[in-house]
């Protein structure tokens, strides 16, 4: 249906100048198709009314979606000049980063270390967590310049997504053929004080032709985590210039015809490090690979207006933490294990009417891991503590999940649950209930969820005692008020209790390592965000606070003498992200991340070879990026500075296991060039 070209009246006339004009009523019947109940939305209203499905499968607007969510748009990512996902996610309330081992940086949520299997990272629907340790890897990795939007659940998501979504979900959606509609090429260069921070090239090609859509996007690049000196607890050191490489190679290809779609993602991420675990490698730096290949075949079958059934097959092959054989100078031997997961999923969505929706389905997956170097890589507990060693292992899991959504005039009610059964570690059942509603300017969310972390292949292999899924209970309350058409204030409270957390530890005396369930952990906190958005740009200010004071603690996370703080993560965080349109084509985009006091283990000042618990002073990262759309059609350029104050913020290990703080990047000057060639006709 097309609008009558001669009739130029639109709904904007009802809220703008022509308020009393009777010609408004001359609109054609077709024009009524797009009328909004609350008038033409402001820029902010468009954002907060965006439908997202990450928290419910059934699309709901951000204010009624049954999770505490953050929506990050392509505009925000582009304008901020974000170098990678660390820059983007640091601005999300409650999100922060710490170091794991071997220089790998992972995410923490609301004070809780989430890197290993506690936060799910989806990339165009593909579960990117590797299945040996369930980790995800940050730092010049994910294709930041391909992203259309990111939907972040800052709370549990296991009732929908299973055992990697215990504390949060990061749902990355990249541009599809229709969004690209031509060719997009971009180049980024970042210069730190002593070496380059990154030099990346991106290319995307895609188009939608009637019901057919295709896209191919690629990224190739090189980067450095830092240009500082890394010093271990034994007082050995190495220069990270050229020895902290973060080199992405990535391709994402997709085709879709009507409801049928197929996708392949190749993610070949290589790092270079000078340490083994956390100790400077006496044989020098070496490369480590984190390679993943994902493929998906999906068919969305619209049985009727009310019923949709989606069968889906996924397959992934991953070889994370892989040291190349040519680098087998490693003191402790090379690691080279390939893991495969094949998943079948069928999900049905039934809209009984506009007010009642039911989503239900089942999922089965099979994991297989094989050691590429060692024929006896895995210890298998055969009968009550009798171990045999094998080259490969296989595990199975099946799950059922369901969710009911009932919308009433008073409140929306969401009830859901998921049941998983694994052939080794047993079962996990996680229910959730949510109440949400928007009343004109005000909205609220009251949520209670259980979630779990599924042990993965190496957790089982390195288990000390029989490992079980760790369980978490989260209660959340969000209150929001739209102050003006351009601004909204949101405040939320949470209480997290994790029972029997699975923790990796290295015995500081024997240096033996393993995984075990520990006692209890958790945090409570508050997050507040003010957002303003208009034609002039946008301004976001958020604050996050957590405390562990009222929670039981696990020794490895604690800060001696401070009951409220946990290792690595500041109790107080403040972020600001803004964009001001100086002209139609020129914007200036400042951002700020403030970190309160942090605590972590660092080399001792008094006893050589030992570590001390130290307090890290409050730090602020201040950044600015200027973006200009040139008169040359499709060409935009940008330049900016990240960490203007040159604070070189460190990544601290959130659990006490022998890793000194990892130096971060120094001040980095960023240049970005982007060119878009759109096809003339958009079908």
């Amino acid at each position: 249906m097309i609008f009558a070209p001669v009739n130029l009246i639109s709904q904007s006339d009802s809220t703008a100048a022509g308020k009393d004009s009777l010609s408004y009523y001359d609109m054609s019947l077709e024009q009524l198709l797009k009328m909004k109940a609350h008038g033409v939305p402001s820029e902010l209203e468009k954002l907060i009314n965006t439908l997202i499905s990450v928290a419910s499968k059934k699309p709901l607007n951000t204010r009624e979606s049954p999770s505490i969510v953050s929506l990050i748009t392509e505009e925000e990512i582009k304008k901020s000049g974000a170098r990678d996902l660390i820059d983007v996610l640091r601005l999300v309330p409650g999100f922060d980063f710490g170091v794991d081992v071997e220089g790998v940086v992972g995410v923490g949520i609301r004070g809780n270390w989430s890197h290993e299997g506690k936060v799910l990272v989806l990339l165009d629907g593909q579960e990117t967590n590797e299945i040996l340790y369930a980790c995800t890897f940050f730092g010049n990795h994910y294709p930041i310049e391909h992203i259309k939007r990111i939907e972040v659940i800052r709370g549990p998501g296991s009732a929908i997504y299973g055992g990697f979504a215990e504390y949060g979900v990061i749902n990355i959606i990249t541009r599809q053929g229709e969004d690209i509609n031509g060719v997009i090429a971009s180049a980024t260069y970042g210069q730190m004080e002593k070496t380059y921070g990154r030099r990346n090239l991106n290319l995307s090609i895609g188009q939608k032709i009637k019901d057919f859509q295709y896209s191919v996007s690629g990224l190739i690049g090189q980067g450095n985590r830092s240009d500082q000196i890394f010093r271990d607890f034994k007082d050995s050191s190495y220069n990270m210039v050229g020895n902290s490489s973060l080199n992405p190679r990535y391709i994402n290809a997709a085709v879709a015809f009507k409801g049928l779609s197929a996708r392949f993602i190749g993610d070949f991420y290589q790092t270079r490090i000078g340490m083994r675990y956390a100790v400077v490698n006496p044989h020098g730096p070496y490369f480590e690979n984190f390679n993943s290949m994902f493929s998906e075949l999906k068919y969305v079958i619209k049985v009727s207006d009310k019923v949709t059934i989606t069968p889906k097959l996924n397959f992934k092959k991953q070889t994370p933490w892989q040291n190349q054989p040519s680098d087998s100078i490693l003191e402790a031997g090379a690691y080279n294990v390939s893991a495969y997961r094949g998943t079948g999923n069928i999900t049905g969505s039934f809209n009984f009417n506009r007010y009642i929706n039911l989503v239900a389905g089942g999922e089965v997956y099979r994991d297989y891991a094989t050691a590429n170097l060692d024929t006896n890589a895995f210890s298998i507990d055969t009968t009550g503590g009798k171990y045999i060693r094998k080259k490969s292992v296989t595990y199975n899991n099946f799950a059922f999940f369901g969710q009911g959504l009932i919308k009433t005039r008073i409140v929306n009610i969401i009830l859901g649950a998921r049941y998983d059964k694994h052939n080794v570690y047993g079962d996990a059942f996680v229910p959730r209930v949510g109440l949400t509603k928007k009343y004109k300017r005000f909205h609220f969310k009251a949520l209670y969820s259980q979630s779990f972390r599924a042990p993965v292949i190496e957790n089982i292999h390195y288990q000390v005692g029989a490992i079980r899924p760790e369980r978490t209970q989260v209660a959340e309350l969000e209150l929001g008020y739209q102050i003006t058409r351009k601004s909204i204030l949101t405040v939320n409270f949470y209480d997290i209790t994790t029972v029997k957390p699975i923790i990796y530890f290295v015995d500081t005396v024997t240096h033996n390592d393993g995984y075990s369930n520990f006692g209890k952990s958790g945090t409570q906190g508050i997050e507040a965000e003010y957002r303003a958005k208009g034609k002039w740009g946008y301004f976001t200010l958020n604050y996050a606070y957590y405390t562990a004071a009222n929670k039981e603690k696990v020794n490895r996370y604690t800060v001696a003498g401070n009951s409220s703080a946990l290792l690595a993560f500041a109790n107080h965080r403040l972020n600001m992200n803004a964009s001001f349109n100086l002209t139609k084509d020129l914007s200036i985009n400042p951002s700020l991340s403030f970190f309160g006091k942090r605590w972590g283990y660092a080399p001792s000042d008094t006893a050589k070879g030992k570590s001390d618990l130290k307090q890290f002073d409050p730090t602020a990262l201040i950044n600015v990026f200027i973006r200009y759309t040139t008169p040359l059609k499709g060409l935009s350029i940008g330049a900016g500075v990240y960490d203007i104050l040159n604070q070189k913020i460190t990544f601290i290990q959130p659990y006490n296991s022998d890793h000194p703080p990892l130096p971060g990047p120094s001040r980095e000057i960023i240049f970005r060039l982007s060119y878009t060639l759109n096809y003339k006709t958009k079908n």
Partner: protein, 169 residues
């Protein structure tokens, strides 16, 4: 200072009012209901009378409409009512949100008279109104159509209007 100035400029300019219901858009729909629904021949004489039951901000907008627009050459007359007796002679009865509970009572009293009942609140078409407004998830303004109810009142709804709404029976 520059940032502060820009922030202040951004935050303290423009409309302070949060997003409120656009009753002018509702009125536009009502106007199209009048245009695309046929009343029995006997009713097509004299003024077209809209009765509004209860208080609703739409009254003001309907008054603007009535002051300058006509339906097939007929003047639009607006009247406010609180009882069934006061609806006498009307073609369209608009039940405001505050009077939603009255829909069944009025429906029973109107019986099969050629009066189109339009409900402001979502769900009233299921309770006896011929049409009632609906706000979809993305804030799109739509309307439910109770075709059976409309036909029972000797009214005929055009196909193009049906295509625009959501038929519930």
């Amino acid at each position: 200072m520059l940032f502060l100035a820009l922030v202040l400029r951004g935050l303290w300019s423009g409309n302070y009012k949060a997003q409120e219901t656009d009753y002018k858009a509702y009125t536009l729909f009502v106007y199209n209901f009048m245009k695309y629904i046929e009343w029995p021949e006997a009713q097509n004489k004299g003024d077209f009378i809209i009765a509004v039951l209860g208080d609703s901000p739409i009254s003001k907008e309907l008054q603007v409409l009535a002051s300058g627009k006509k339906i097939k050459g007929r003047a639009i007359v607006l009247k406010k009512c609180n009882t069934f007796e006061e609806t006498s002679g009307c073609h369209l009865l608009y039940i405001s949100a505050s009077k939603s509970a009255s829909v069944k009572t009025f429906k029973d009293q109107i019986k099969d008279k050629p009066i189109l009942i339009v409900g402001e609140r979502e769900g009233l078409a299921k309770k006896g109104a011929g049409l009632s407004f609906v706000t979809l998830e993305d804030d799109e303004l739509k309307f439910d159509i109770n075709k059976k109810e409309i036909e029972q009142h000797q009214l005929k709804i055009s196909g193009s209007l049906i295509n625009l709404g959501i038929v519930i029976n």
